[in-house]
């Protein structure tokens, strides 16, 4: 796997460490010469100094054969153009842009570029940790036609202590993963559920309410 990352800072550094540890071939494009020298010393990655939204620089960095291009500069307009050039001119299959302004995440998606917003991800993680609510909506899949939800089972849950095949689950619902302590379990019919388990559910919006009720016992 060959990954091209455009940007700088600690995010890029740790991303790169992560990728090279997995054995990916990583090429970094950074505009700042001093930072390039630093990065080249610290990382086992190829470092190209230049403007990543310049087609010539992308070509030098080997965009043609890259499996993925990641644009994580502090400027949204640059991230968009980098990704569009990579996909349109160099045929890179997977291009992902950082949206510094969270509103731009949707803008980029509408313009055909996959995007993520760190602000939004961190925000939702904090909410998830801070909230006393048992239920967390993890993500909508397929334009919101599928929900992925995490529920923490408490002792009052009607399903705590039951074996999966004995649970009367409404239609179109699936228990995808049970996380017990640090251990994720892909459950089968003879697995049980315990209080304290974190259950990841896949549901369709029409029966989302009844499924949650089956797990928490409360009307929602």
């Amino acid at each position: 796997m060959k990954v091209l990352i455009v940007g700088g800072g600690r995010t890029l550094y740790f991303l790169c460490c992560n990728f090279t540890a997995k054995g990916y071939e990583v090429v970094i494009i950074n505009r700042n010469r001093d930072e390039c020298v630093q990065l080249a010393r610290q990382l086992s990655a190829t470092v190209v100094c230049g403007d990543g939204s310049d087609a010539g620089i992308l070509k030098d960095a080997g965009a043609m054969g890259a499996d993925a291009v990641l644009a994580v500069t502090p400027n949204d307009q640059d991230n968009l153009v980098i990704c569009q050039l990579a996909s349109l001119q160099f045929g890179v299959a997977r291009v992902i842009a950082l949206a510094n302004d969270p509103d731009n995440a949707e803008v980029f998606e509408k313009l055909g570029v996959s995007a993520f917003s760190t602000t939004r991800i961190v925000g939702s993680l904090i909410e998830q940790r801070a909230s006393m609510e048992q239920i967390t909506n993890l993500l909508p899949v397929g334009e919101g036609r599928v929900n992925v939800t995490e529920i923490v089972l408490d002792a009052q849950s009607p399903v705590a202590g039951k074996i999966l095949k004995d649970i009367d689950l409404p239609e179109n619902a699936l228990i995808a993963v049970v996380i017990r302590g640090d251990q994720p379990i892909i459950p089968r019919g003879d697995n049980d559920l315990l209080a304290g388990d974190r259950v990841v559910l896949i549901t369709l919006p029409e029966n989302h309410g009844p499924v949650l009720k089956a797990f928490t016992g409360e009307e929602r």
Binding site: D54, A55, Q77, Q84, L85, D101, K110
Partner: protein, 146 residues
């Protein structure tokens, strides 16, 4: 060109300010957007349009400028990528009928032509003008012939 169009000009530099002045004088409704408020000083005293102080790559700023109601948007900032992003957002998200972007890098211009974004490349224009000026001066006398 229709006599009263709603035109948004992004960037109030030398080009943006002159363009906004001319369009305003011709009777169009003009909104100018620039992140640096000081640039609005370059607008002429008879400029009758609106000024929006903000970064046009933020969708909230474009909304404030009422880009959704605009007939034309012209992106003239000194940054190619800003112009290209704003032009695409105006076209694809706000549905502005006519969108033009200034792009200095001819390589980038080619790619965006494919995306249906109308671009004007000052670099290519200047090269053309120079070449034409030279050939106009030279060929009548027949001094340089291939």
């Amino acid at each position: 060109m229709k006599n009263n169009l709603f035109i948004v000009v992004v960037g109030c530099g030398r080009v943006g300010a002159r363009l906004a002045n001319r369009l305003s004088r011709e009777g169009h409704s003009v909104v100018v957007i620039d992140a640096d408020e000081a640039t609005f000083n370059d607008l002429s005293p008879d400029f009758s349009g609106f000024r929006v102080d903000g970064d046009a790559t933020e969708i909230a700023v474009l909304k404030e400028a009422k880009v959704n109601e605009a007939d034309v948007l012209i992106a003239t900032t000194h940054e190619d990528n800003v112009n290209l992003m704003v032009a695409q957002v105006a076209r694809k998200i706000f549905g502005v009928a006519r969108v033009l972007a200034r792009v200095f890098d001819p390589k980038r211009e080619e790619v965006y032509a494919r995306l249906g974004i109308e671009t004007i490349c000052p670099t290519s224009v200047a090269v053309e003008m120079f070449l034409r000026a030279i050939s106009d001066e030279v060929s009548p006398q027949g001094e340089i012939q291939p």
